[in-house]
């Protein structure tokens, strides 16, 4: 019934517009733009230009500190960031330049009864310029991009990497460490039973020392980590934005991605970008808490920065809340932590 009410409101608004339009329609006017209208619209185009560029600058200033920290938490991420900065700079330049051309021309050449347009239909020279300049710039970008891509994606030939499996299911992550042999045991959904939620094949000798963890996983600073991803049910995507890392988890298939963590959680918390961001978040949370407390509810806990693994491929109702904490430790701290974890085999027995 309420929908009917809103439809009625909509109808009322429409009738309002009808009335306005009638007023417009009643005056007989030129069918095409008049000299005055050309003039006004020409000036309005300058306004649009100011708005487009003003908005972009406003966004960059105002929203600069909500972005991911400039500092990449992985070595490979630094290459990506460099490429990103160059590309983004190029984009900004072209954006400013071309929009100014469009709207300035739109203003300058606004119609006037005294003007005549210039018949100018072709120029091979000009066209050569704007074919070859983008072509050259793009060649550089493509080569640089492909070089970076291959650097980042190559996980085949590493010295002593740490192997970890990330396992996705609706709506939870689990992690499995390869253990002392640094080889992951085989796994398949058909082996899922009781506590063996990842379907690890316990008859595989490589699986004997595999360690499984929930909710949070630790990785050591400075050692390449090669992840293997699997999914139990639908597509998921393991997204670790601070490490510039993402890979889909595909049922029936293993996928891989690797990076070398370079900033520990503790160090990242001392990063100026993060300090600013956390301060901003806590200001918002405090304001929210006041409202909550006034209503007799619990206040929000203050936020402390942590690396996160998020799901970034639509996977069902709780897709928006499928997360796992990542902790980057110094090697010594990592060793202490991993030695405290139980192997899957010991949990089963």
């Amino acid at each position: 019934m309420k929908a009917l009410f809103f439809i009625a409101v909509f109808a009322a608004i429409s009738i309002g517009f009808w009335q306005i339009a009638k007023i417009f329609g009643a005056t007989k006017e030129d069918q095409t733009a008049t000299n005055k209208e050309n003039n006004i619209n020409g000036w309005m185009m300058l306004f649009v230009l100011a708005f487009v560029h003003g908005l972009l600058i406003f966004c960059m200033v105002e929203y600069g500190d909500v972005l991911l920290p400039q500092l990449s938490a992985s070595l490979e991420g630094e290459d990506i960031d460099m490429l990103f900065k160059i590309t983004f700079g190029l984009i900004l330049f072209v954006q400013f330049f071309t929009q100014i051309l469009i709207f300035f021309f739109a203003f300058k050449y606004r119609g006037n009864i005294n003007r005549t347009a210039t018949f100018y239909a072709d120029s091979h020279k000009l066209e050569m310029i704007w074919t070859s300049v983008p072509a050259i710039v793009l060649t550089i970008l493509v080569l640089y991009g492909i070089y970076t891509w291959n650097e980042v994606m190559d996980v085949s030939n590493q010295k002593d990497p740490l192997y970890i499996e990330l396992y996705a299911k609706q709506f939870q992550w689990e992690a499995r460490y390869a253990g002392s042999d640094n080889t992951l045991g085989e796994a398949n959904v058909r082996n899922i039973k009781g506590i063996n939620t990842m379907g690890v094949d316990m008859n595989d000798k490589n699986a004997a020392d595999d360690i499984t963890v929930l909710r949070e996983f630790h990785i050591p600073k400075g050692r390449k980590v090669v992840f293997q991803f699997r999914s139990q049910d639908v597509l998921h995507s393991a997204y670790m934005p601070h490490f510039r890392a993402q890979m889909n988890c595909v049922p029936g298939m293993k996928t891989h991605f690797g990076f070398t963590p370079s900033v520990t959680t503790v160090e990242m918390r001392k990063n100026q970008d993060i300090i600013d961001k956390v301060a901003g978040i806590n200001k918002i949370r405090k304001a929210k808490s006041k409202v909550l407390e006034a209503n007799g509810e619990d206040a929000l806990e203050p936020y402390e920065f942590d690396y996160l693994l998020l799901c970034n491929k639509i996977c069902g109702a709780s897709h928006y809340n499928m997360q796992m904490k990542i902790v980057v430790d110094e090697v010594a701290d990592y060793n202490v932590w991993i030695n405290k974890q139980k192997t899957l085999a010991s949990k089963i027995n």
Binding site: F5, I13, F17, A21, K28, Q31, A33, N38, V48, F51, L55, Y63, V66, L67, L68, I80, L83, F84, T87, I91, Q95, T98, Q99, L101, I102, F105, A106, Y109, R110, G111, T116, F119, A121, D122, I146, W149, N150, R190, D233, V234, S237, H242, A245, Q246, M247, G252, K254, T255, H256, K277, I281, I284, K313, I314, G316, A317, S318, H319, Y320, Q323
Partner: protein, 586 residues
């Protein structure tokens, strides 16, 4: 042939006249756009104020919006159907269907489409698919909600989400019918353009709109059948127990029997259509823009042949870049490199087009009719949105922004808003041809300026939420304190969205009132060169009384000068006007 008796049924409903079919497409498209657009308003409210209660959400969403708050399932249903409706029903059928039908026969000088009957069938299949899609929204178990890309296994397994039940079946059936409609249309457009051009209308005298429609139809013909097969295989997996896309699945406590398939196969098939689809949407809008900008600048379009060449280049490249949607699916890194290469190549013909538009404006005498404003807006948005493609098309950079709101902002600008602005430009420009009346100018101006401000206001800030790492398709981001500081941006986006949404009411009012009450149009209000303006204002089957006009020149002789550099008296020369004495064809 113009005088044969028509009943109400054959004139307005089962019409085989391309002009009537074009109007049918347009009005169906507008109705679908209202549905799809309204959905986006609802989920923008949810994103900006996740903790508030809205009567309007409860009123329209029923149990999916109980207490005025949206459920995650409902949210995902809304974004799925919003995407589907906007991409296929509005910007494919609504845009291409309307203007290809209206303009192809009129601009090439034909009395109708090659097959009026197929054309009618095409519209009615489209109508049927629209009806099924709308019905699927109201299914008890929920509308399809696996995203508009409907990746299996999520879309294949009713256990995985409630929207993958009957809602998904109807979605697939609707799309299968839609594709049939689209293919019939495309065939008809191609045959008509190649065979029914009037005397003198060589391929290099065709207006750029027609070139755009021709290339669009070819891309559609190549890629839509692949989506049909993808959809059929998905139907098999869902209903007949096959395993094309499914393997090794454990869900709700049991292992399913599927073995050996791969969801990646679906992604390949889907994006083999999905990426060309971007250009199926964009090229007609670019064609319309070319025509409108040239006419209203009173200048020939700059680089006519380069425009055709770049459209052909874009069309070819568009079929070999689909993998850039799949950089992080675990595809071979070498393949990723190849797709990066082909994808970034598209920037070259796109840059050529953009600069050609800018040069067309240069030293023009710009007549600010409403269509012109929208066309300039279209070029602006096309560049703003296209540029971020350099980031998303580059596999290394895509890793960290893939599937974030950065992507959403990018494609909404480059194909959503820009095609929409192109469509508006077309509606304002050819309204006199369609309905014999003018739309109100002043309302059109207001509509444009609010729309362009709102479009940028929505999608510029959205890029930044993506760069902050916010994934798309999150029904709210309160589960992550990390994203708490995005709330103010989300509110700004929503305010602009509501502003832009309400501005469309001005258009709707102007459009429907002008059909009945607008000023009577003269035959050639914009002083344009193309053949449709040589046809009488009133509509009848056959388009021209007497003989079809013969074409003597190309479509862009605006402000031409004679051999001594003196401008001719009349600043335009319709295509059927013979060359003046001493005049050379450009």
């Amino acid at each position: 042939m113009s005088d044969h008796k028509q009943t109400f049924l054959t004139k307005y409903i089962f019409s085989t006249d391309h002009k009537m079919i074009s109007k049918q497409y347009l009005i169906t498209g507008i109705i679908m756009a209202v549905i799809g657009g309204f959905m986006s308003m609802l989920f923008r409210l949810q994103l900006a104020y996740p903790e508030s209660h809205f009567t309007i959400i409860e009123a329209f969403l029923g149990k999916g919006g109980e207490g005025g708050q949206m459920t995650p399932d409902m949210y995902m249903g809304l974004v799925t159907i919003h995407g589907t409706i906007m991409v296929f029903f509005v910007l494919t059928a609504g845009l291409s269907g309307t203007f290809s039908n209206l303009l192809i026969p009129l601009q090439i000088g034909a009395r109708d489409m090659a097959s009026g009957f197929l054309n009618m069938i095409s519209y009615w299949l489209f109508f049927l698919s629209s009806v099924i899609m709308v019905i699927s929204i109201f299914v008890h178990s929920g509308m399809a909600s696996a995203g508009w890309t409907i990746y299996p296994p999520l879309s294949a397994l009713p256990q995985a989400m409630s929207g993958s039940g009957l809602g998904m079946d109807l979605w697939l059936i609707s799309m299968a019918i839609f594709i049939a409609a689209s293919l019939l249309g495309s065939l008809n457009y191609i045959v008509t353009i190649l065979n029914l051009r009037t005397k003198g209308m060589t391929m290099t005298r065709l207006p750029l709109t027609i070139w755009a429609f021709l290339i669009t139809a070819i891309i559609g013909l190549v890629s839509f059948p692949v989506l049909l097969s993808a959809a059929l295989l998905l139907i098999f997996d869902r209903s007949f127990g096959t395993s094309f896309y499914l393997s090794d699945i454990f869900i709700q406590g049991e292992v399913l029997h599927y073995q050996g398939g791969s969801p990646i196969l679906f992604e390949h098939l889907f994006w083999f259509l999905g990426h060309p689809e971007v250009y199926i949407i964009l090229l007609p809008a670019l064609g319309i823009t070319s025509e409108v900008i040239s006419t209203n600048s009173r200048k020939p379009i700059f680089g006519y042949r380069a425009m055709i060449g770049s459209m052909l280049g874009i069309a070819f490249l568009s079929t070999v870049v689909w993998g850039h949607h799949m950089f992080v699916t675990g595809m071979n890194p070498f393949l990723g490199s190849v797709f990066t290469f082909t994808t970034l190549l598209i920037a070259i013909p796109s840059a050529v087009k953009a600069f050609n538009y800018i040069t067309t404006l240069w030293k023009g005498n710009i007549q600010y009719n409403v269509g012109m404003l929208f066309s300039i807006g279209m070029v602006s948005v096309f560049i703003s949105g296209g540029l971020t493609g350099l980031i998303l098309g580059d596999s290394a950079l895509d890793i960290n922004v893939h599937d974030t709101l950065f992507v959403v902002a990018h494609f909404h600008l480059v194909m959503g808003i820009s095609a929409l602005l192109g469509m508006f430009a077309g509606v304002y420009h050819w309204f006199p041809k369609m309905f014999g009346r003018m739309m109100n100018k002043k309302l059109g101006y207001i509509h444009f300026f609010i729309t362009i401000v709102a479009a940028y206001g929505v999608f510029f800030p959205m890029h930044f939420t993506g760069l902050a790492g916010l994934p798309r398709r999150y029904f709210n981001n309160t589960a992550f304190p990390l994203f708490d500081d995005l709330a103010p941006i989300n509110r700004v986006i929503t305010w602009f969205a509501l502003l832009g949404g309400s501005a469309q009411l001005i258009f709707l009012g102007n459009f429907f009132i002008s059909i009945f009450k607008g000023q009577k149009a003269v035959q050639n209000p914009w002083k344009a060169n193309t053949l449709e303006w040589t046809a009488p204002v009133e509509h009848f089957h056959g388009n021209w009384y007497g003989d079809i006009p013969e074409v003597k020149r190309w479509a862009y002789d605006y402000s031409k000068v004679d051999a001594n550099g003196v401008p001719y008296e009349q600043d335009y020369a319709p295509q059927n006007m013979p060359l003046r004495e001493g005049e050379e064809e450009f």
